[in-house]
């Protein structure tokens, strides 16, 4: 618990500074756009109508989608830029709307008085309209601030580190401490900025110079402090670093020439436990070869693929079935090796992406049930379920029942009468353990299959498509022979059981992904039965 806490604390500088940088810069640009635009719009009904309608339209796009859309719109760029663009757009509406209403709804007598005493339009704006509309405008800015600070947590999947990393990683690894960390710091940051802006407005309105300067100073110190936090040595080094350092020294004497010395390699990862562990594992190997590794975690699946294609990242782990259905848009199931070959060909020819030999395990969809429940039904394979279909309930993530493989499994095995329930994957394993459902559409490498005493039913007619884990290298990265060699080192070394155990350690034993990667690393080092990987030395 306290180790978890100190690990999370060690991540704070990076996440908080990323979060602050994104939120504050997006807010500043957003205000810089919406204030003048609002003033302009307040001058004529003809512009204010369409302008506000457009801004509202942007607001109705779900924030997650807006962030994700920025990636293709900006030519596949990931990280700060698309997040910054989306958050800026997101921050425009509240300030724009309140600027327009704040000015339009001023007492006409006061506006007329401004004319009457001989003010120019500019003087009227600065001396009368803006000061009087300030409370309304500032209320808009405060709304924008709270929105943007909250929404910034969603920039994690497009590769911009933020406090959202705590939340995404925590939800996937069931590390509630991490989730709470992310939520609490995001909330504290939002409340802090909101209150500082409020104080600045009060100071301005009531002309409390000291209060204003004080609030401004606190704001600057916190923002600057947050941004530069990663540069300050907190003294508390994370266990992750300690583990890395340890394995580094261990292997230092083994390694003769460090083939990747001084090179920077960028690894991407999707948003679940297995991906965190594998990216840590590959990082470990590359660091050993002397590379400087940058890992971008918690990225959306298709965003990762585009980032790889554009050489924004160098490598990541994907699954043959995922490429097959979502990128190649095929829906027929084919045999495991045949799929691997077709996928590899397709990626090379269509996208210039290199597929390294499979890691050895599949993270496929499959049916799992309680070990003690299976014999009572006489079930060893999916084919045995048909006679009981009417009484059975199967749970799966909502996406599962929408995928072509569910339709194919249902039709292949004649399970049309079965009852289906969609639920989040975090909860379905417990549901089957607690006998609330009979079957679940499980992920074959999930650690809870071991921990909850579940069995995976055979799929004799191969209705579920294969999902072999494969390492993909970007068009540029594959020019680097040393990198190919280093990543191919893992080929066929990680079996289903091994991966499941590593996942279990994170999901159920509350180990960190780095610790699980360490376990995998030792296990793969020990195994010497690799006969399928000629690239390995």
């Amino acid at each position: 618990m306290s180790e978890n806490f100190s690990e999370r604390l060690a991540e704070l500088p990076q996440y908080l500074s990323g979060h602050l940088l994104l939120s504050v810069s997006a807010l500043i640009l957003g205000i810089a756009i919406s204030l003048p635009l609002g003033v302009l719009a307040s001058r004529s009904h003809r512009t204010s109508g369409p302008l506000l309608a457009t801004a509202s339209l942007v607001q109705t796009v779900p924030s997650m989608a807006l962030l994700a859309l920025m990636v293709p719109l900006l030519g596949g760029t990931i990280g700060f830029l698309p997040a910054f663009a989306a958050l800026t757009m997101y921050s425009v509406l509240p300030t724009l709307r309140n600027t327009v209403t704040g000015i339009v709804e001023l007492d006409p007598a006061i506006v007329e008085a401004a004319h009457g005493v001989g003010m120019t339009n500019w003087q009227r704006l600065w001396r009368v309209e803006l000061p009087l509309a300030a409370p309304v405008i500032v209320a808009g800015i405060r709304t924008a601030t709270v929105w943007v600070v909250g929404t910034t947590t969603l920039s994690t999947p497009i590769g911009a580190p933020s406090l959202g990393n705590y939340i995404f990683a925590g939800l996937q690894t069931r590390n509630w401490m991490s989730v709470v960390f992310g939520c609490v710091f995001a909330a504290v940051l939002a409340i802090f900025l909101d209150q500082i802006i409020r104080l600045l407005e009060v100071a301005l309105r009531e002309r409390k110079r000291q209060l204003g300067l004080g609030a401004l100073a606190v704001l600057l110190v916190v923002v600057a402090g947050g941004l530069f936090l990663p540069l300050i040595d907190l003294g508390a080094q994370s266990t992750r670093d300690a583990v890395t350092a340890q394995s580094k020294t261990e292997s230092a004497d083994k390694t003769t020439g460090r083939s990747l010395a001084g090179q920077t390699i960028v690894i991407g990862s999707k948003t679940f436990t297995e991906q965190y562990i594998l990216s840590e594992l590959i990082e470990r190997r590359l660091v050993e070869e002397g590379a400087v590794v940058k890992t971008i975690q918690n990225m959306g699946s298709t965003i990762l693929f585009d980032a790889l294609r554009n050489n924004t990242i160098d490598l990541y782990v994907d699954y043959t079935g995922t490429i097959w259905t979502t990128i190649m848009e095929r829906d027929e199931a084919i045999e495991r090796t045949a799929m691997y070959i077709e996928v590899a060909h397709y990626l090379r020819n269509k996208h210039g992406i290199l597929t390294i030999a499979p890691l050895g395990f599949q993270n496929a969809y499959s049916f799992a049930m309680r070990q003690d429940h299976a014999p009572s039904l006489g079930a060893r394979s999916i084919a045995d379920l048909k006679p009981h279909a009417r009484e059975l309930t199967v749970a799966g993530d909502p996406e599962f029942f929408a995928r072509p493989e569910w339709a194919s499994v249902r039709d292949t095995y004649g399970l049309g009468a079965i009852t289906t329930i969609g639920m989040d994957s975090t909860f379905m394993y417990q549901a089957v353990r607690d006998r609330r459902v009979d079957l679940i559409g499980a992920y074959t490498t999930d650690g809870r299959i071991i921990a909850f005493d579940l069995v995976i039913l055979d799929d004799p007619k191969a209705a579920f498509p294969p999902y072999d884990a494969i390492v993909l290298l970007s068009p540029e990265a594959q020019q680097n022979k040393a990198l190919i060699k280093a990543t191919a080192w893992f080929a066929n070394l990680i079996h289903d059981d091994l991966m499941r155990e590593a996942n279990r350690r994170v999901d159920l034993d509350s180990q960190s992904p780095a610790q699980a990667a360490d376990f995998l690393y030792r296990a793969t080092n020990a195994s010497n039965n690799c006969y399928l990987c000629p690239l390995r030395q």
Partner: protein
């Protein structure tokens, strides 16, 4: 009395001359038709008429808050249409129907706004503000730094007068300046205003729908109805030889009210 005689002196050159102005708004509504009048130095003209008859529109055409559709306005012989409206308004005092103080500025800042727009130096503005506050009977030390919300209605309109007088304008325009006040405050302020106007020899145009007020304050009264002039003359002219039944009834109104009052009080 002395000034009243002077207003009748045809040799005095008018400070303000309004010649056959009309206003047709963009919506086609004809608010003012062919209105002419003039004011000599130190003279207070009162425009009297019912609500909606075009008084405010006429007043605003003088400082170009509204531009006239036809006709011309001259101040000291210069056609206002040839003066930059911002500059023009800084030389004409204006007291608003709804008082119109800037609620985010102190009393001193409100009074000193036009001098500030004219880039007077800080010290000169301060001296002028104190002088004006004293003139409208608000102790400068006490009221200078108050916000308008911290003043009574009467005090607010005193500040409104002070603001209008800040740059010693050649003409002062007042749109129902006492309209929002209670009867006792109104009475006090009317007398004080008349006193200030006389002692500074201010040329002004005041708009009201209150006959008694017009009779009390005006050197000459311009009676308007539906955007046109019904009669223009001194109170005595209007009472002695009303141009129409409407004017006669209007002038008789205070007396009628008096009689009604007596019959009630007994």
């Amino acid at each position: 009395m002395k000034r009243r005689r002077r207003t009748k002196n045809p040799k005095s050159r008018p400070v303000l001359r309004v010649k056959r102005v009309s206003k047709i708004f963009a919506d086609g509504g004809r608010a003012v038709s062919d209105v002419s009048f003039d004011a000599v130095e130190g003279e207070l003209i009162v425009i009297l008429g019912e609500s909606g008859c075009g008084k405010t529109t006429t007043l605003k055409m003088i400082n170009r808050l509204i531009d006239a559709s036809n006709g011309s306005v001259e101040i000291n012989g210069q056609n206002v249409s040839r003066i930059d409206p911002v500059h023009l308004r800084r030389t004409i005092g204006y007291v608003f129907q709804g008082i119109g103080l800037f609620s985010h500025m102190t009393v001193a800042e409100n009074v000193g706004i036009t001098p500030a727009l004219l880039h007077w130096d800080e010290e000169r503005i301060q001296i002028r503000v104190d002088e004006l506050l004293a003139m409208v009977r608000l102790e400068p030390e006490k009221y200078r730094n108050r916000m308008p919300a911290e003043l009574s209605g009467g005090q607010q309109q005193r500040v409104g007068f002070a603001r209008a007088l800040a740059t010693s304008p050649s003409v002062i325009l007042l749109d129902e300046p006492f309209g929002a006040l209670d009867p006792i405050t109104r009475d006090t302020l009317q007398h004080e205003f008349k006193h200030i106007q006389r002692s500074l020899n201010l040329t002004g145009v005041l708009v009201t729908h209150d006959v008694t007020e017009a009779l009390l304050l005006a050197d000459r009264i311009l009676v308007m109805k539906s955007g046109t002039i019904v009669q223009f003359g001194t109170a005595r002219d209007l009472v002695a030889s009303p141009a129409s039944l409407y004017v006669a009834e209007l002038m008789d109104m205070p007396k009628r009210q008096m009689r009604q009052l007596e019959s009630v009080v007994g």
